[in-house]
Symmetry: C2
Amino acid sequence: MRLSTKLTAAAIAIGLTAGAASQALAQQKPDEALKMRQGLMQAVKMNFGPIAGFAQGKGDLPADAAAKAGHLTALAKMAPMAWGKGSEALPGANTKAEAFASADFAKGWTAMGEASAKLQAAAASGGAEAIKAAAGEVGKTCKGCHDTFRKE
Amino acid sequence: MRLSTKLTAAAIAIGLTAGAASQALAQQKPDEALKMRQGLMQAVKMNFGPIAGFAQGKGDLPADAAAKAGHLTALAKMAPMAWGKGSEALPGANTKAEAFASADFAKGWTAMGEASAKLQAAAASGGAEAIKAAAGEVGKTCKGCHDTFRKE
């Protein structure tokens, strides 16, 4: 099979018709942006939740805490692309419109990524108090943006 | 403010009440798992789409192709947690039930992560043909699981 044929097959396999690939090149659809950010925020919750629970004394440290913190770092890096313009006012959108035009919004994700990387380092070296402190710093970056940019 | 107070504030800020944190420790709710995987698959599409488009000759290579490939690698690592049991039959679920009990499903994500890491390396070094070939290998890992585990 020629490479171009293989690539077309691969593109179709992931739901990328030629038109969809072109669309993805050009612009994310608003409803796709919303779906992506809802899923990414859910992923943040699933990865941070158990560590925050540990920091609150509500459970054991997850065995894969360092991996979870690594996921948080990765999510923070890719998150901004999910707040695409045109998706501000969709049903279920829970972000204030000003976030879409604010440099502070992207900076908030950068801060969250940096705090998550420190949490990952703390989790890898294993000191409980250091992990709790680092988790608190991650939580502060969550709160910083939520206070400013979240509707509810 | 004491650390425990700060952590509680942080947990509330990210929507993690004490109950929610405990729940996250215990088990992901089926509807949350579904939301997470829909968002992660959307993120895969948004990151791979422009590179696949380039590989198909439909556009320029994104300037941030290596970063996008890095996001794909990270998404592959965290994806399996989004296919939580109990979410097989929800409206909108598009994964065959057997995926939830198959070791091949997790192996598929591992293969996708490895192929994405190679794509990232190719994108970082910049050879167009190497990038196209590596994109084709990523696409094959998409197709491999979609053929087996996707409903539609």
